[in-house]
Symmetry: C2
Subunit: 392 residues, 2 copies
């Protein structure tokens, strides 16, 4: 397997982007990634578009995006893995380079969720499980799914609504330092606790927003990477798994099995001790679509023992200066969650972190040289854990 490096990254402004079309939104991050890599569109040999769509009028997003960005006649396809779509795009591009098929491939994640009327988005995302078994019969919305996890977790381990809110407070704090973030205002625990319930115990401030945004990363073979950049960031390993779509088949509701399988796979490939991954990692991006999801991620990834994840946030251990900084770009919670772009933006953010190019106040100390991205689709229907490294 050939080594593969990230050689260019870009992220658009996240938020309500009624000011741009889907291809224009994609171009914002594509241009930034090309500039970052000092490459032209003509250098890109193939591209992969991560886009869930369903709310867009364009039926062939990869075609119109590729054309608008000057990539045609180069081949680009669309991939989808629910809210982990961005990671699926990165993995697909990664295998094109790793196999020797191409030397320079771009992964573009993009989503315009505000194009759709709100009830339609809510219904669409509610279907992101097993429509036949869960949605049609019980009418669960997506916050409802994660509320099942939150209630089980709180009941078993004694975590409180305040603990959940502390995740939101941290991520809004870092969002306030990220000019690309959708929400750039710090919040207090009280504001969070007083926000209205969406699905008990999850409140509005426990929930990631509806977001438009894009992100792009350029992957290159070792030979090309060594030529064009002094700061390649290597894809050390990608772990991945799917989980059952039938929630009644899940053993418990205190963690996501697919995330655990994906983490073990990634740690094994990267040579990371699964008993003590924080020994190897400087910084992590985890999938905090709801605050409970970040706490479960701490445990699924082995940052904390089972049942003790909420103590990490209670003690501030996932702020910069703590055990392991998590979501220092604001996370899905404050940066926003354009579902096709999120996984790509995690890789873009970690690349900047490892290069020590993050915005003021939110650069994690880089001492060990590795970083981790954890991206979930559905409620653990998809999981991807990607390890980036400064050494190949």
């Amino acid at each position: 397997m050939r080594r593969v490096a990230v050689v260019g990254v870009g992220v658009s402004k996240f938020g309500n982007r009624a000011d741009v079309s889907l291809p224009e939104l994609a171009w914002e991050s594509v241009k930034e990634a090309l500039d970052d890599a000092r490459l032209g569109a003509e250098d890109i040999q193939a591209f992969v578009v991560g886009n869930v769509g369903g709310w867009s009028s364009e039926a062939l997003p990869a075609v119109v995006i590729g054309e608008y960005c000057g990539l045609v006649p180069k081949s680009g396809i669309r991939v989808e893995a629910a809210c982990a779509t961005g990671s699926a795009a990165v993995r697909t591009a990664y295998h094109m380079v790793a196999s020797g098929e191409a030397d320079i491939v771009m992964a573009i994640g993009v989503e315009k969720m505000n194009e759709s009327p709100t009830p339609t988005v809510v219904e669409f995302i509610g279907r992101a499980g097993s429509y036949f078994w869960e949605f049609e019969n019980f009418g669960l919305t997506f916050p409802g799914y994660y509320a099942l996890y939150a209630t089980a977790y709180m009941h078993r381990y004694g975590a409180t609504e305040e603990d959940l809110c502390k995740v939101a407070v941290k991520n809004h704090y870092y969002g306030s330092l990220n000019p690309k973030a959708q929400f750039q205002r710090a919040i207090t625990v009280e504001e969070c606790l007083n926000s209205r319930y969406v699905a008990w115990p999850l409140k509005l401030y426990d929930s990631s927003p509806i977001t438009d945004g894009s992100s792009a990363v350029i992957l290159a073979s070792e030979e090309v990477a060594r030529k064009i950049t002094d700061t390649p960031v290597w894809i050390k390993a990608i772990g991945y798994a799917n989980g059952t779509a039938n929630l009644s088949k899940r053993l418990d509701f205190i963690g996501l099995e697919a995330a655990q399988v994906a983490a073990q796979m990634a740690y094994k490939k990267a040579g990371i001790d699964p008993e003590n991954p924080v020994k190897y990692l400087d910084v992590a991006e985890v999938h905090d679509c709801f605050t409970i999801a970040e706490i479960m991620a701490y445990e699924d990834l082995g940052f904390a023992k089972r049942g003790e994840g909420y103590k990490l946030i209670r003690e501030g251990q996932t702020y910069i200066g703590g055990l392991i900084p998590v979501n220092v770009d604001g996370g899905l919670k404050a940066k926003g969650h354009p579902i096709g772009a999120t996984g790509v933006s995690m890789i873009a953010e970690l690349t900047k972190q490892l290069r020590q190019q993050a915005d003021k106040g939110r650069q994690a100390p880089i001492r060990k040289g590795m970083a981790l991205a954890h991206n979930i689709g559905g409620t653990g229907h998809y999981a991807f854990v990607t390890i980036l490294s400064l050494s190949p």
Copy 2:
């Protein structure tokens, strides 16, 4: 790049499959492919689902299909490239094996188009171009796009509606010998000429139908393939390209530029002389969504000189016994065109052909050991040309 072989193939019955759900439909071909490879679901290390969707109630087809087929927790993602979605799935699986990431990966193409009311399908497919430039402004339907090509081609080269109908007659003839085909009745040129116009000069019998169906192929590394089968069929090369979504930017309407680029790439990789590809190929599957598309494919692939493709069908050269047999499973025209499955089913069919396991009356003579699949998305928005071979 590691060598990759097709070690198992399956195709469901194509047609109106209101009798099964999407995962059940997928399972028909998955089971056949597993049986063909003498593997169990537990042997599959990852899978890729080709599905366009948009008309399905299930928002996460890869999840529910993976689970129903017993593949979870193995990772599977969904890919989309319009009517070339199946080829995108095969290519994605191919790179996973070629890179060394996995040894056994399955590509599953599946589509249930009849789930949607007919006007919705017609509108959806009409959007399979540039919605912004073509659909919204001119209201072109998909047959309308190909009718532009048919009129330009007929005007320039003197092909007739009768020539187009001869393609339909051939493909219905082979469909009549394929128990999996949607249409199993041979037709005459007169029947075709007398069928109603959909978009002049294209008639109902010039058009592929709305189809439900699935197909699966299992790809394996050389080491695994040599162990589990005596009849590996090798993926020799995949060529691919995208084309402009803005039809006003196309130079002419007598062929598909993306198909020409993809063919040249595939021929170069496979060591096939692009001036004389039929010297190397025993049989081909081409994308005959409309009869004009098959004639243009003859030329885009170099089976005939530009402007002379219609003579091949006029002379019967693409029947078994002619210069190169094309679509001897009935093609999209008679076998049917479940858009996510079509590209996969082409690989399944050619694998059977190269193994000399085709149904009675439609086995092409295998003397040279190579076969070609040509799969188009949109009107040349996507193109994939895949070369299979009996020797690695």
